[in-house]
């Protein structure tokens, strides 16, 4: 394609670079950007869920003169003014994973749908009857959406009783383990637990194994490498499903859309929702995970 404007540098601001999800995202972005221009300069930073820090990073990107900003917004609405500032400096802003108000485009997993399929799995397995727990996490929009999706499903099934949904597993194995230890002591009967992401699900499973509690269905959202391993591991039969995301592809799409806009091609819709697929113990063998080599 005859690129009217060459892509020289990209700024990427993501939630937390310690999360393999965002690592895969940044790899996807790099892969796609390098395809467009092998000499492209990419600066990737984590904002650690601090909105102020993200706004600062955007300011710095403006000063550094990037052409395109890829960002996982700290808050869908509140990041709006910063995005406007970047756009005023002639920069195209594409949001990934979470929608952002005012962004030129958004590419994201459908988190509501991901929560729905993960929890529908629980409902199906329980036959529409049982005591379940929603193990919440940090109140960012992706997590909020997943819980909304999950509650949508549970509320349609009067046989399902949600015991609790107000504990924060901090999105980590450790947080999940600690919260689950409390839950398991507090509630003698739990049939299923929906964890808002994979690390929490694995921590939950560790807690259950320690206390010799079996027969609890644990599902999550992400499809991360460690849940892949857990779904293949006969020692952790309680972990049964995870609604997968494809960060590598998401980032590639985002860069493609961004480059398109740079060249004057408006996308049909500003929000592109990528559907989530449920990975279960049955289909995990065919699942192409985040770390598989995708650069062909």
């Amino acid at each position: 394609p005859s690129s009217a404007k060459e892509l020289k540098s990209i700024g990427v601001s993501l939630g937390s670079m310690g999360n393999p999800f965002f690592v895969a995202l940044s790899k996807g972005a790099e892969f796609e950007a390098k395809k467009t221009n092998p000499n492209v300069k990419i600066t990737t930073v984590g904002f650690e869920y601090d909105l102020g820090k993200q706004v600062t990073q955007i300011d710095n990107f403006i000063a550094a003169g990037v052409d395109l900003i890829l960002l996982n917004p700290g808050d869908p609405k509140a990041i709006g003014p910063a995005i406007k500032k970047a756009q005023a400096a002639g920069i195209v802003v594409v949001a990934v994973d979470t929608a952002a108000e005012g962004a030129d485009a958004t590419v994201t997993t459908n988190n509501v749908q991901a929560g729905e399929i993960s929890c529908q799995y629980i409902v199906d397995k329980l036959g529409g009857k049982g005591d379940v727990i929603i193990e919440n996490g940090p109140q960012v929009s992706a997590v909020i959406d997943r819980v909304v999706g999950c509650k949508n499903v549970f509320s349609k099934n009067p046989g399902i009783k949600v015991l609790s949904s107000d504990q924060d597993g901090k999105g980590s194995r450790e947080g999940g383990l600690t919260v689950a230890q409390g839950y398991l002591t507090r509630f003698p009967k739990i049939d299923a637990i929906f964890a808002i992401n994979d690390p929490q699900a694995i921590g939950t499973d560790l807690a259950a194994r320690q206390q010799n509690r079996s027969g609890i269905i644990i599902t999550a959202v992400d499809g991360a490498p460690d849940i892949e391993a857990a779904l293949k591991d006969p020692q952790s039969p309680q972990i049964q499903a995870s609604a997968s995301q494809d960060p590598f592809f998401m980032a590639r799409r985002a860069v493609q859309v961004g480059v398109g806009i740079l060249n004057g091609q408006k996308p049909a819709s500003t929000v592109e929702l990528l559907p989530s697929k449920l990975v279960t113990r049955d289909n995990v063998a065919e699942y192409k995970g985040w770390t598989s080599d995708r650069s062909q």
Partner: protein, 346 residues
């Protein structure tokens, strides 16, 4: 006897000479320690300018650095008061979040909207005074009290917004967050955030160096029991410094709210206390209390901002930014120690 008289005259004159030399040397010493980290700051700026191929020293980028340093400068100014008394305030990040939440929540009410700014300040002041009262009147250790309020106030900040982001794109006085004060129309303007930060530094300097209260603050930090015996109302001084720290955290909250048009009780201000403390200590204020200056704090805050900005400007990856930042902080203090070695007492 005459010989004796002569002998008396001689040492007297040499000591006078010696005293003059002593004074000169002391002036040098004071100048060096007042300069403090300024050389480090300059080295960093020039280094980044070269490495970023000339992007650092541009009007726009300097404006961004100043603006980014602003909130931390304000928090660090309050922290300077506290650390000068030998205390510490870990709760500033949480107080900032709570104040921003309180301000934004109020700003959405049609009639009271304009009051959001004083509301944020008062929220901060209130929490600060509570900290101070617990420390001064119940004689609890500052670290524990402010660690407790770090946690408790964070919870309150989340409660204020029912654990969501509060957003108000039409918040009054938004200009303080994103506007600039034009000095020379079309040529020179300074972000309002930086103007506020500079004013805070100036007022702090005035209080610390030109008022009775300032001397009392240094005295309490230098030797609390001597201060008490000298008739200083130590409890009042302590409540004052924690109140100031809270007030400035409230101001920081207002600045962030105006800058972001939004606040989130959980995310805003996380671990800001570490940056503020780092700025104060980089600026040469001693943890023991009683030693330090507000100008040093300003330089410390600028170093932190320049470091964050510069590393992104020259495209260092996130991971290496951590490593480099940590090493630069240690290196800066080591350099400072080395520089002062000849002049300082051991």
């Amino acid at each position: 006897m005459p010989s004796n008289g002569a002998a008396e005259a001689k040492p007297a004159s040499t000591t006078t000479n010696g005293a003059a030399a002593e004074t000169r040397r002391q002036r040098m010493r004071m100048l060096i320690s007042a300069l403090g980290m300024l050389p480090v700051l300059l080295i960093l700026c020039i280094g980044f300018h070269v490495l970023s191929e000339g992007r650092f020293f541009t009007g726009q980028n300097l404006g961004i650095v100043l603006q980014q340093a602003a909130v931390n400068t304000v928090l660090a100014a309050g922290m300077t008061f506290v650390i000068l008394t030998g205390g510490i305030d870990l709760s500033v990040g949480s107080i900032l979040a709570a104040s921003a939440m309180a301000g934004l929540t109020l700003s959405k009410l049609p009639e009271l909207g304009m009051l959001w700014l004083p509301a944020a300040l008062l929220t901060g002041l209130g929490f600060g005074v509570v900290n101070g009262a617990l420390i001064a009147l119940l004689r609890l250790p500052p670290f524990i009290v402010t660690l407790g309020s770090l946690t408790a106030v964070r919870g309150l900040a989340r409660l204020l917004g029912a654990d969501t982001t509060v957003f108000n794109p039409s918040i009054p006085y938004a200009f303080i967050g994103n506007g600039s004060l034009t000095l020379v129309p079309g040529a020179l303007s300074i972000p309002w955030l930086s103007v506020i930060a500079l004013l805070v530094i100036l007022v702090s300097w005035l209080v610390l160096r030109r008022t009775v209260l300032g001397v009392h603050i240094y005295a309490v930090g230098g030797n609390e029991s001597a201060a008490r015996l000298a008739g200083i109302k130590v409890w009042a001084v302590l409540i004052f410094v924690y109140g100031v720290s809270g007030l400035f955290a409230g101001l920081g909250g207002a600045m962030q709210a105006a800058r972001l048009y939004a606040a989130n009780g959980l995310q805003l201000g996380q671990s800001y206390e570490l940056d503020a403390i780092t700025a104060v200590i980089l600026g040469g204020t001693s943890f023991v209390g009683g030693i330090g200056s507000i100008w040093g704090t300003l330089v410390g805050a600028l170093i932190i901002a320049v470091l964050s900005n510069g590393l992104i400007l020259i495209g260092v990856s996130d991971i290496w930014q951590y490593v480099i930042k940590g090493l630069v902080i240690i290196g800066a203090v080591a350099l400072d120690r080395y520089r002062l070695q000849g002049s300082a007492r051991t």
